[in-house]
């Protein structure tokens, strides 16, 4: 006689999304940088900000910041980012 088990896992199938089309060039683009508030993150992003402008021709770098790295971004931060309509977002994850 076979044994029948109750599935103990999350059985939902996660929604799959295709990746957004890649930018062909950063030149002339508007790029958002999301700082998650980890120590040292702003130093790294300041440097990235300069490099994007100076070496890649990015015309506008928008800066956004989560109030804490410990929690998901609040809706207000995401709404501000959507409103600004950047063509690319770089999220500086921790560590």
């Amino acid at each position: 006689m076979s044994t029948i088990l109750v599935n103990p896992l999350d059985e939902r199938v996660p929604p799959q999304g295709a990746a957004a089309p890649r930018l062909r060039s950063l030149a002339g683009a508007r790029v958002a940088l999301l700082d998650i508030s980890k120590g040292g993150g702003s130093i790294f992003l300041d440097r990235l900000d300069s490099l994007l402008r100076e070496q890649f021709g990015v015309t506008e770098v928008l800066r956004f910041r989560k109030p804490t790295f410990a929690k998901p971004a609040p809706e207000a931060v995401l709404a501000d980012m959507r409103k600004a309509q950047p063509q690319a977002v770089i999220e500086a994850l921790a560590d």
Binding site: I4, V6, N7, P8, D10, E11, G17, K71
Partner: protein, 522 residues
């Protein structure tokens, strides 16, 4: 994308008639809206047989609504079944295809790009003998380039029920599926192979075992107790029961496990962050109330180790639930650098019988004598040995330096602490007349880091020193370690012999991190 020279496939059963510029779009794509405005102007400029045709990936009604709102006059066709989108091989919309008189692809572009638009317009004019238009000028108020959106045919199936957005407030869940173990496979090995478990063997969650667990909870199998971060899978009573069986719980343990899962997912605890941290933290559960003795929780000797089935198995069930429903498998979501042995199981009972004070849960407004489970996102315990002290002051002075080293020696005002006082130490403190509040105040006032240690070497905690609170501790200028007395919690646990206590550090704290939570239950 189809290459130049390839035959342009049919759209809705009809081959495209060249020369034409086909523009695939979807109605909810901002770059498509932008592109369609230019294409519509372009279509009005061609008066001979060249055409500009919009190909909608959506149904006629939303397409017609969009056309009306944009005032479009260009001819429209429909690729509602998305077959043409797949055959043309587009990845993003808007996607433009120039088709020549022989019905072959003569050029293409994806996304909104003024240069491409002008290039393809000029090529269309060349194919039809029309004057060369220049529909898109730089500096006309619109961007020169805007990436498009993913083509509709590459989106996830929207009619798949399982792909629906997460409902954070669902009160009922589907029943769990049943899994047949192949006849030639040991059920215990099968569970391991299926990724049901941590690396230790489990009790296979057979239907009968899970049903007995559900029945003991007094709840319906489909009732949802919480949604477990970060994946927010619904922790239905049935899923909790299946994990409880695997962990080795008894049906009676559901009485604690169900409220524990609810407390674990209390937003104030922020288990979401702890699940993915690189830090040591693991949720520690502390049980108060009569249920400790009724279910045989270890509160005395070996309270942190493998002394009692209730602690060990309920703690393991909690961590299996975090892994199996929350998604925090080590190396994927759970990225702790060093880990924590408490990630197997981390549950203690307070030794209320050996305590001179009110139970921990009373700090959170739960009356003494009521059952409660408190969660604290905790580092492993640090040992304190003090076998000579005869007074509270001498004893507590042994605890202060251990507190001072939490998180990182020179970091102040960041971490919290749980001080687990052993019964012999509790007796010493009680003999000195110290209440729990007196203990907390003493530890707060006498734990600090000497200012001389902030000598400009740039180490962790030194950059924020200007925000620290200076004080004098035994004549030495110090920065106070803790933000406030309430940053230190005190409870009693452990065996009757041995003058030991334990200090347990926290994860990130406060409203921007994890706050201790305490839930009462019957």
């Amino acid at each position: 994308m189809l290459a130049e020279g390839q035959l342009a496939p049919e759209i809705d059963g009809v081959p495209p008639s060249g020369p034409a510029l086909l523009a695939f779009f979807k109605t909810d794509c901002p770059a498509c809206h932008l592109s369609l405005r230019y294409l519509d102007d372009l279509s009005r400029q061609f008066t001979n047989d060249a055409t500009v045709v919009g190909v909608s990936q959506d149904a006629p009604q939303p397409t017609s609504e969009l056309a009306d709102s944009l005032g479009l006059a260009l001819p429209l066709r429909f690729d509602s079944d998305l077959n043409a989108s797949a055959e043309y091989g587009l990845e993003a919309v808007p996607a433009l295809f120039l088709v020549d008189r022989l019905g072959r692809v003569a050029g293409s572009s994806q996304g909104f790009d003024k240069a491409d638009l002008n290039r393809l317009s000029a090529a269309l004019a060349g194919l039809s003998g029309s004057p060369v238009p220049n529909p898109a000028r730089s500096g006309d108020g619109n961007p020169d380039f805007q990436p498009g959106c993913v083509s509709r045919h590459l989106e996830p199936e929207s009619d798949d029920e399982s792909a629906a957005p997460v409902d954070m407030y669902a009160r009922r869940a589907r029943r769990a599926s049943r899994v047949n173990v192949p006849a030639d496979t040991e059920p215990e090995e099968f569970c391991y192979e299926q990724g049901f478990a941590d690396p230790l063997p489990v009790i296979p969650p057979t239907v009968g075992r899970v049903d007995r667990m559900i029945a003991a909870s007094g709840l319906d199998a489909e009732d949802v107790v919480a949604h477990v971060p970060p994946n927010f899978a619904p922790a239905s009573v049935e899923k909790i029961a299946a994990n409880a069986v695997m962990a080795g719980c008894l049906p009676s343990h559901m009485r604690v496990l169900v409220p524990a899962v609810r407390a674990l997912c209390d937003e104030r605890l922020d288990i979401h962050g702890v699940q993915g941290t690189t830090h040591f933290a693991a949720p520690l559960a502390i049980v108060n109330g009569p249920v400790r003795l009724q279910l045989g929780f270890a509160c005395g000797s070996n309270v942190f180790s493998n002394a009692a089935r209730a602690n060990s198995t309920i703690g393991r069930a909690i961590h299996l639930i975090l892994r199996n429903l929350g998604g925090a498998a080590p190396g994927r979501i759970d990225m702790s650098t060093m880990g924590n042995p408490g990630r197997f199981s981390y549950v203690i009972g307070e030794n209320e019988e050996a305590s001179p004070w009110e139970p921990l849960a009373t700090d959170f407004g739960i009356p003494a004598g009521r059952n409660a489970v408190t969660f604290y996102c905790a580092e492993p315990p640090c040992a304190v040995s003090e076998h000579k002290a005869r007074t509270a002051e001498v004893l507590l002075r042994a605890i202060c330096p251990v507190l001072a080293n939490l998180w990182s020696h020179r970091v102040c005002k960041r971490s919290e602490a749980l001080v687990v006082i052993g019964p012999e130490h509790a007796a010493t403190l009680d003999r000195s007349g110290f209440s729990k509040r007196d203990v907390v105040e003493f530890l707060y006032r006498n734990t600090g880091i000497p200012v001389r240690e902030y000598d400009g070497d740039g180490g962790e905690g030194t950059h924020e020193a200007s925000s620290y609170d200076e004080c004098l501790i035994r004549g030495v200028r110090c920065y106070r370690k803790f933000r406030k007395p309430e940053s230190i919690r005190v409870m009693v646990a452990g065996g009757p012999a041995g003058k030991f206590s334990a200090v347990i550090g926290s994860w990130a704290t406060g409203p921007r991190g994890s706050q201790m939570v305490c839930h009462g239950f019957d």
